[in-house]
């Protein structure tokens, strides 16, 4: 084997799994030698220069070693493939706005709580910077997770095809989980997780989010808040969870369920608005500044943005599923 062929073969095999390299290297080398011999034909005494020229021609015919390596590895050459693309877009549309809004809200509340005399410019600067970082992190996490999952899906599909002999497919093998049902279930599952997280909010100590120094590690919510308000809050969340459970179990977005869900969401927003505007809902030590009212108003605005956005999303999904 000439040095040129050796380099070419090394270029092909260096990106392949280690256990397959010797076998593939030997096969490509034998092929190159066969091709060179065939071109040299009967002229066994060909000059070394001519042999080198023919070898070069053969290697050029085999083409880019990286491309040949890709053919051998047969791995997907994309990050997010067609199987995962709808889920990817859906995850971005749902998660990024939530992350963005939570980042804005958290930063505004925390900045005001930590520095009572803070200027509006500083709030905007800190909030914008941290929100961009949060959005980029969420974007990267979603892309990596779904990209890795996409490879799993590709492998699984190929394996199942390989295992299945021709003519053995029956109607029982039909994948009845159509993509819309899967998406509705995924959305309902995410909704349930979000509701559980919201239900935990009154119980979460500030120390869990590394701001325990603000109120001695007590909860974010005012401990003197009437039990009735808390029970009301959890009751509305239970109703919202029931709607999501119905969506999850039926895997369908019936208009009745969507309308009930919308009514519950708006009722919850009204309930929270009344609660926030009539009494101190947040812990007094988090809001004992001159900006306490401002914080409550910001929270109310955020609640209504989430509610309206949720209704618009639900309506769009309903219209899409009708098609």
């Amino acid at each position: 084997m000439s040095a040129l062929t050796e380099i070419y073969v090394d270029n092909v095999t260096r990106h392949l799994p280690e256990d397959s390299r010797p076998d593939i290297a030997a096969e490509i080398t034998a092929t190159i030698d066969d091709m060179v011999d065939a071109r040299l034909g009967e002229d066994a005494d060909s000059s070394p220069d001519h042999t080198a020229t023919v070898e070069r021609e053969v290697l050029e015919e085999l083409g880019d070693p990286v491309a040949l390596s890709r053919e051998y590895s047969n791995s997907p050459q994309h990050l997010i493939g067609p199987n995962s693309y709808p889920l990817y877009i859906w995850a971005l549309r749902w998660v990024l706005p939530i992350v963005g809004l939570l980042a804005v809200l958290t930063n505004i509340v925390t900045t005001i709580a930590v520095s009572p005399g803070v200027q509006i410019g500083e709030i905007i600067g800190k909030t914008a910077g941290n929100t961009v970082i949060a959005l980029l992190t969420a974007f990267a996490a979603i892309t990596i997770i779904i990209g890795l999952g996409d490879r799993g899906m590709d492998g699984g599909a190929s394996d199942s095809l390989r295992k299945r002999k021709p003519g053995t497919w029956t109607i029982d093998d039909l994948d009845r989980r159509d993509s819309r049902s899967k998406q509705i279930r995924a959305e309902a599952g995410l909704g349930l997780v979000f509701i559980v997280a919201l239900a935990m909010v009154p119980l979460i100590p500030t120390s869990l989010l590394y701001v325990g120094h603000l109120n001695g590690g007590e909860t974010f919510v005012n401990p003197d808040l009437g039990v009735g308000w808390l029970l009301g809050y959890w009751a509305f969340l239970a109703l919202m969870a029931a709607v999501e459970v119905i969506k999850f179990t039926t895997a369908s977005a019936k208009p009745t369920v969507a309308i009930i869900g919308g009514i519950v969401d708006i009722a919850m927003a009204v309930f929270l608005t009344i609660a926030l505007l009539t009494q101190p809902v947040l812990h007094s030590e988090l809001t004992n500044t001159g900006n306490a009212d401002f914080q409550q108003i910001i929270t109310v605005i955020a609640i209504w943005i989430i509610t309206v956005w949720d209704q618009v999303s639900t309506w769009r999904i309903y219209r899409r599923n009708r098609r």
Binding site: A30, T31, Y72, P166
Partner: protein, 115 residues
């Protein structure tokens, strides 16, 4: 044909060839073949194939259990010989029957559509 039509034709021919090469390789491997001999066999049969497509394809067919591969080290140059397995023979037979059906269907369609 203009340039765009040539490009479109080249794309469709490539797609046609891609499926054909798998079938042709299975048929040719009813007798043991090493990579270059298969390449030559296919080319002589009028099925243009590129080496950089054929060799990875043989490996995939081997992984799918349609071909078996054995290194022959008795010759001056070690070569990997591919032979059709029982499962590969079944697939080749099924593909052959589909091929004949397609050929008949296309011929009929062509005749029906010819003014």
């Amino acid at each position: 044909m203009n340039e765009d039509e040539d490009k479109a034709l080249a794309t469709h021919e490539q797609e046609l060839r891609r499926g054909t090469v798998v079938f042709a390789s299975l048929v040719a491997c009813r007798r043991p073949q090493y990579g270059y001999s298969l390449l030559t066999t296919l080319t002589e049969a009028g099925i243009a194939t590129e080496a950089n497509t054929l060799y990875p394809l043989l490996r995939r067919l081997e992984k799918q259990g349609l071909l078996s591969a054995v290194w022959n080290t008795e010759q001056a140059r070690p070569r990997k010989y591919y032979t059709l397995t029982d499962s590969g023979a079944e697939v080749a037979a099924a593909l052959h029957s589909h091929w004949l059906e397609l050929n008949s269907s296309i011929t009929k369609l062509w005749k029906d559509g010819t003014p």
